[in-house]
Symmetry: C2
Subunit: 225 residues, 2 copies
Amino acid sequence: MQQYYSQHPRFYHAVDCIIFGFSGGELSLLLLKRKFNPGKGEWSLMGGFVQEGENMDDAAKRVLTELTGLTNVFMEQVGSFGQVNRDPGERVISTAYYALININEYDRSLVEEHNAYWVKINELPTLLFDHQQMVDRARLVMKVQAAMQPISFNLLPEHFTLTQLQTLYEAINGEPIDKRNFRKRVAEMSYIEKTGLIDKLTSRRGAALYKFNEAKYQESLKFRL
Amino acid sequence: MQQYYSQHPRFYHAVDCIIFGFSGGELSLLLLKRKFNPGKGEWSLMGGFVQEGENMDDAAKRVLTELTGLTNVFMEQVGSFGQVNRDPGERVISTAYYALININEYDRSLVEEHNAYWVKINELPTLLFDHQQMVDRARLVMKVQAAMQPISFNLLPEHFTLTQLQTLYEAINGEPIDKRNFRKRVAEMSYIEKTGLIDKLTSRRGAALYKFNEAKYQESLKFRL
DNA sequence: TCAAAAGTGTTAAGTTTACACCCATGA
DNA sequence: TCATGGGTGTAAACTTAACACTTTTGA
């Protein structure tokens, strides 16, 4: 029984985070300009190693918290990357996770310490190792999941205008949406609630602020077969 | 730099295969009644350890081949499972893959050697460790992918009748499909070709045999945006 | 001759798309 | 007063869903 395991090799296991933010009508990723080896000076995802006694999902959360100070963040597994030479230093298998955060709420000093920057998703630099593949896959998985579940709210402040929500969907899907059709659809979603508050920052007239009601969303699921 | 890695722990890394087959109008999985520890006597997925110098995807293919004798099988990653105590013997992180095979074409002696059996997907026994979770996730991922790409042909013989194809889709989606609507849709897919052959086994009248044309499918993708 | 599976079109319902103007306000 | 973003409805096009009978043939 001991034999069963010990005849096999063991590997380092990393987690890497694709951290999405949204501002100015565009999606961005929080990337590190590495201050350390391997890959010093290159751009990479925030990553870390799974520790003894630590669940892999928890490792991903820890790594995200180390960079942003945030907890209770929406995170989903993207997939694992296990090419032999993906990390030229040692054999490391890595599992990628994507995270959706509100770009206005994170610990700026931690981010600065890590030498991390927000980079627009359509202007990404060359990334270390297979991190570009991870990003590509994360974008695909996120897009598919965003089409099936209301996860995009994690990228917005608690209160948001319909124009913000629309530009977010446009950024995720990479194509424009008709304003009237979009608002018609939103109106049918009982879990997107008008708050009565008005945003006066982005227009003279002021725009109604909405919020996502998680409880109502769960309720609405019951009626969808 | 050596320090960078060596301060971290290393773990065994396994791959587990959710092997789908289709016969008698039902999906089945190829499961092992384990002849060895850990979990001797229990039902489990076919698995194995990633080896030194072996890509993780290749490990999954190797493990599938060990059990079935098949190569060039359709396989996709399902996700990785990294709970600390998922394997009570040692810390093992495992990546699940699903495979779609033609249930009539595999090496029966290898399967017998491994003490593996086809089990209908709606009659699964209790599985070892977190293998049930892996199966649940694999079914979901497979269903989503089957709705987006024509992967289901991997579960059928080269030539198949439309009734077979329909019952397969019904098995994957878990709900009945209207025969005329189904055939109308198939007729629009230029990559599902009538072969001119007739199957006389399942009906007195005989049913036209069709086949999937991969090249035509690739061609058709170009015209979809 | 009849049981069993194969094959075949039309219509209604529902969904998606396209499209243009007025409103409120602060500068 | 006007520039800016907010807000609103309808009709056509398209897609999906519902539905029942005839054909072939081996036993």
